[in-house]
Every structure is written in C-alpha cells, then in structure tokens.
C-alpha cells in the first residue's frame, strides 16, 4: 500500500529520494528549497538506506561532488534555486559532456541577480536551451504538484540512467513550499555494488584486470574527436526528443483555444480553463511535462484545430518561443505572464486569453 502524507514539495522530494534508493545528495542552502537538505538531515538516511547526505561549501562544490558521485555509477542528486543553479552551469556542462546520469532540482525563484525568493519560472531558457557552454541538453521535467515532485524523482533517475544524461526537475517556489497530500511507494533498496557495475559498465569503480580502464571525461583535445562526441550527443538528444515527450491535456478535445503552461502556471491555468468554459469559451490546457524534450509535434498538431494559443508562464516569455517554433506561424501565439514572484490569478489568465487571443 502506498503511504499517504501531507507534505511540502521540498520535503516530499527529499523523502522520495530516500525511498527511491538514491545514493547521495550534495547541496547548499538557499531559499526556497532549503527544506530539501533539512529534511534529509533530519531523516538521517545514512542510518537506514545508507544514503549519503552532505552539505557542500557552495553550489560549485555541490555540482562537482555530483559529478564525482555520478561517475561512480551511483544515483546522486542536488537541489538549489536560481542563483545557485547559475553557479552550477560549468559543472552541468561537464556532466552533460561526460554523459553522466544525475538529478538536479531547481526550485526557481525570481531573478535576475539576487532578485526575490518568491516563485518564478524564469529559468526555463537556462534549463532547456543550456545555461552552460557547448551544445548539450538536460532532460527537464516540470512537476505541477507535490505528488509529481515525488514521482519525478524516480522518473528523472530512470531517464537519466537510460540515456546517461543529467536530468533536471524544474520546480518553483510554489511547488516547493506548498503542502499537499502525497502518496509514497515502498522503500526501494539501493543498488548493490554488483548491480551498479552490471548496469553501468562505464562507471569509474576501480579497474579490474578484466576490462580497460574507465575514464570519465568531457575532454576531446582534437576537434575531430570532439565533433564525433557532439554528433553522438546530438543523436542521443534526437532519440530523447522522439521517445520521451510527456505532456498532459485537459479539455482539449473540443477546444477552439489552447493554453500551454507548465508547472504551477499549469495549475492556475486549469482553473482559468474552468472559468472560461463556464463562460462558454472552448479552451483546453496542454501541459508539457517534459520541457526537454518539448512536445513540439504534439502542440503543432493542434494548429488545425485551434484558433489561438496562449502560453502562461511566470516569466517574461520564454517557453512561448518553443510554442511558436512548434506552430510555425500557423496560429497566433501570445504570452501572458507575471514576473518577479508575482503569481497570476486564474481570472487574470482567463482575461488575458480573452484579450490577447480571442479578442486580439
């Protein structure tokens, strides 16, 4: 039986990590996500599952501890919020270049700079286009409930290991701080040493006489080797784009208009859809769950059906570019968003739909 609790997103993701058999967490405090590490430290998983929890001296250190840990073939995770994630960009690029699986949680707050600690979605570009240098992609999952904070821990690790690619859970202050009912699976045992070696033959676990040495690296001094690596990476990203798109629709079947929104904006937009429907406006909600891979095709398919699309984001308009790329000018696409920690009300969104899309 699944266990029912009332929990904050940040607490839930911590407990989910322990239950999923994560091997290590490395992090540094920052609002609005400090409860992740606090919960782990309070639960003392090193006494139960054997999970390691360590407070690093900075986010730069955290991400590089993750880099080391991931190279061991173990399940490792960090969490932070926007400024801390910016500090991790070099490390993230290395991890992506070395093709290591790991999970990075960003509980986004408003920027730029020190900004505010209130919720935001303004790190979309950073997460999906690559905030670090070089051509790489993270697998990006956007939870919109505390339950998904829990469920996506497992999903993120599964995808990360399947593709040997870092995965990011792009959450925000709303999901991190709110409490909801949440159900947990039973504890899963951590992988044994033998399982790790069997599943991750590439891992640097000590070179036995039976194999060549394993080298975890992102370095390819010669351009021709680097290009080969880039081609390999791009092929992988293409495969992910083809196979791993996840999204959810709500009242889209007869929709004449579409709202596209992720994470907590999608929750708010759901209510806006209800308000609009009450007014007789046929609008549906498409919620991308994976931000990379983005549901380009799936959104593109609606261009025959709908007359306009509104993206709702807590930022100045970021995902809207991907939606525009998806529809290729076939229908009107507009963006509505509050910024800097302000959160739209469902009514505002509904108004925006009427003004920008239906009326506009």
């Amino acid at each position: 039986m699944r266990e029912l609790k009332l929990m904050k997103g940040n607490e839930a993701i911590a407990e989910a990590a322990i239950r999923y058999g994560v091997d290590g967490y490395f992090g540094y405090p920052i609002t609005p996500q400090s409860e992740v590490m606090e919960t782990l430290m309070a639960m003392r998983p090193w006494e139960t599952t054997g999970m390691v929890v360590l407070q690093a001296e900075s986010e730069v250190a955290s991400i590089n501890m993750l880099y080391g840990g991931a190279g061991s073939g173990k399940r490792v995770m960090t969490s932070s919020s926007s400024p801390g994630i910016s500090l991790m960009q070099e490390g993230i690029s290395y991890i992506a270049g070395a093709e290591l699986p790991c999970v990075i949680v960003n509980v986004v707050r408003g920027g730029p700079g020190l900004g505010t600690i209130q919720p935001s979605q303004s790190d979309y570009f950073q997460a999906v286009k690559g905030g670090g240098h070089g051509d790489y992609k993270l697998i990006v999952l956007a939870p919109s409930s505390v339950q998904e904070m829990v469920d996506f821990v497992g999903l993120a690790f599964d995808l990360a290991f399947k593709y040997r690619n870092p995965a990011m859970i792009l959450s925000d202050g709303v999901i991190g701080q709110m409490m909801e009912k949440v159900e947990f699976d039973e504890y899963k045992p951590r992988w044994t040493r033998e399982e790790i070696i069997a599943k991750n033959p590439w891992a640097a676990t000590g070179k036995p006489p039976t194999r060549e040495r394993n080298i975890i690296t992102s370095l390819h001094l010669q351009a021709v080797d680097q290009e080969k690596q880039n081609i390999k990476l791009q092929a992988k990203y293409k495969e992910i784009q083809e196979k791993e798109v996840r999204y959810e629709t709500y009242l889209c079947d007869d929709a004449e208009y579409l709202i596209v929104a992720f994470g907590s904006s999608a929750r708010i937009s759901k209510k806006s859809v209800e308000i609009a429907r009450e007014k007789g406006i046929k609008v549906g909600l498409l919620r991308p769950i994976t931000l990379f891979p983005f549901p380009y095709k799936e959104i593109g398919a609606y261009t025959d059906q709908v007359k306009g699309i509104l993206t709702v984001e807590m930022n100045a308009g970021q995902m809207v570019e991907d939606v525009r790329l998806a529809v290729e000018g076939k229908v009107k696409v507009e963006h509505y968003g509050r910024m800097g920690g302000m959160i739209s009300s469902p009514d505002e969104v509904e108004n925006a739909l009427e003004e920008l899309i239906i009326g506009g």
Binding site: E57, A61, G71
Partner: protein, 254 residues
C-alpha cells in the same frame, strides 16, 4: 670485460617502468616533473596492489591527460574542482582509494575553496599537488605560487606583490586544518628526492586505510616550458629559488 649483453638479462633487472603505466608516450614537454610523479604513483599502486581499487581525479592542467598514462579508472575534473569530485567519489565508495592530482593554479587559485573545505572536512583522500609555480597548460601565466620577481606571461616583468599579490603557501595553511593528517612537501629533481617523494606518496595512500583525514603531498616541480629554461637549468633554478620559499619536509604527520 663483461659485455653489456651479459648484464642486460631478465634476472639482472633492477628497474623498469611500472606495469601500471600504459605504453602511451606522454604528451608532457621534455623534462617535465609530471612524468616523474606519474611513475611514482603507478609504482605505488602496483606495490600496494590496488590497481582495481583506486580512482584518480585529474582536473584541467597539463596533467588532465594523466588518464592516458596511469592504467586505472580516472575521472576528469573541472579546473579547481578535483577535491569536490573526490569528496563525491569517496563518500559514496569509502572502500576505494581516491586521489586528486592537482596543479598549483588548480589547487591554490580557482580551487582554493574546494581544496580547503575538502581538507577541513577531513575527506579521507590523498591530494597530490604539483607546484610548478606557473600555469603550464595554458602557456605560462602567473600562478598563485609564482615567486615574487618571477617572470610569467601575465607578469612579463616579474611578479610584483602590489599588483599581483604574494606567492601563497597554501600547503602551510592546509597543514593547520584539523582535517588533514599528513602534509608534506617534496621534490623529484634528484634520485634521492624521488625516493623520498615515493615514500611520502605511499604513506599518503596508506593513510586512507586508517581513515585519518586528508593526506597531502606537495611536489615542488619545474615547468621548463613555462619557465623558458632547459630542464636541467630549471631544476637548478628550482633548488635555488623555489626551495628557499617552499622548503621541503613534513609539515604535519599525525
């Protein structure tokens, strides 16, 4: 007279390249100290019989390609972050021998925080620190350990402390952290010093079985390319100029 042929026989072998070294020719400049230290590490791994149980972490610097030479599992690190990687690795696999192999730019400039905090936590790892007083890989820029007056491409008329700061004795600082258990400064310019460095490295690796904290072996080294001297001249210059400022010997052995 004895013929060379009579001497060069398997039974008379007294020194050969460690089997833990690969056959790849090293990319280092002629006379570079990195090669000597690589050999020593390989020998120790061979002698301790831990080839299947050791993980090296090499950050950017001339020795980032160490993985081509020492035949063990390796992990590249971003510039300055080897101690953080090693922390991640060792915490998750405490049964492995984990070492970092860092240059002076790496350990004492960009990686200052990671190095100090790994040592302060007493991570049970070995840090091999190649202090050649310069940024070798990028072509000879000033390092944090560049001596006053010493010329580098970013202090072409010699380091001046008013502009460039002082050379930093980072090893002395690390020795004061309660997390470190063994901190020593060695060199590899003579056979005698090579022997001492080997002993030091062996102790630094063995300490991991005793979980005593962090062990650090600094090797005062030459970078004849960066210094723009012949390898032989570079050794002399090191003895004359580096050793007085970075005196050899144990700083801590607990």
């Amino acid at each position: 007279m004895i013929d060379i042929k009579d001497i060069v026989k398997p039974e008379n072998l007294v020194f050969k390249k460690s089997r833990v070294l690969t056959d790849n020719p090293m990319h280092y400049c002629p006379g570079c100290s990195h090669g000597v230290v690589h050999n020593l590490i390989a020998e120790i791994i061979e002698e301790m019989d831990i080839q299947d149980n050791v993980i090296g972490v090499a950050p950017v610097g001339c020795s980032v390609l160490a993985y081509n030479y020492i035949d063990i599992d390796w992990h590249e690190a971003a510039h300055g972050r080897a101690p953080a990687l090693a922390t991640g690795i060792k915490r998750l696999m405490p049964e492995k021998f984990v070492f970092t192999y860092q240059g002076d730019g790496d350990l004492a400039a960009i990686g200052t925080a990671e190095t100090i905090h790994a040592c302060n936590r007493g991570e049970n790892i070995t840090i091999v620190f190649i202090n050649n007083g310069i940024y070798g890989m990028t072509g000879g820029q000033m390092a944090p350990t560049t001596l006053e007056g010493m010329v580098a491409s970013t202090c072409p008329s010699g380091r001046e402390h008013a502009r460039d700061g002082y050379p930093i004795k980072i090893t002395e600082l690390l020795a004061q952290l309660p997390g470190t258990c063994y901190v020593t400064r060695q060199a590899v310019h003579t056979a005698g010093s090579v022997r001492k460095t080997k002993k030091a490295l062996r102790k630094a690796f063995e300490n991991q079985t005793r979980n005593r904290g962090t062990s650090i072996v600094e090797v005062v080294s030459t970078c004849n390319s960066g210094w723009k001297m012949s390898p032989v001249k570079a050794n002399d210059w090191m003895v004359e100029n580096m050793f007085p400022f970075y005196p050899l010997g144990d700083l801590k052995d607990e």
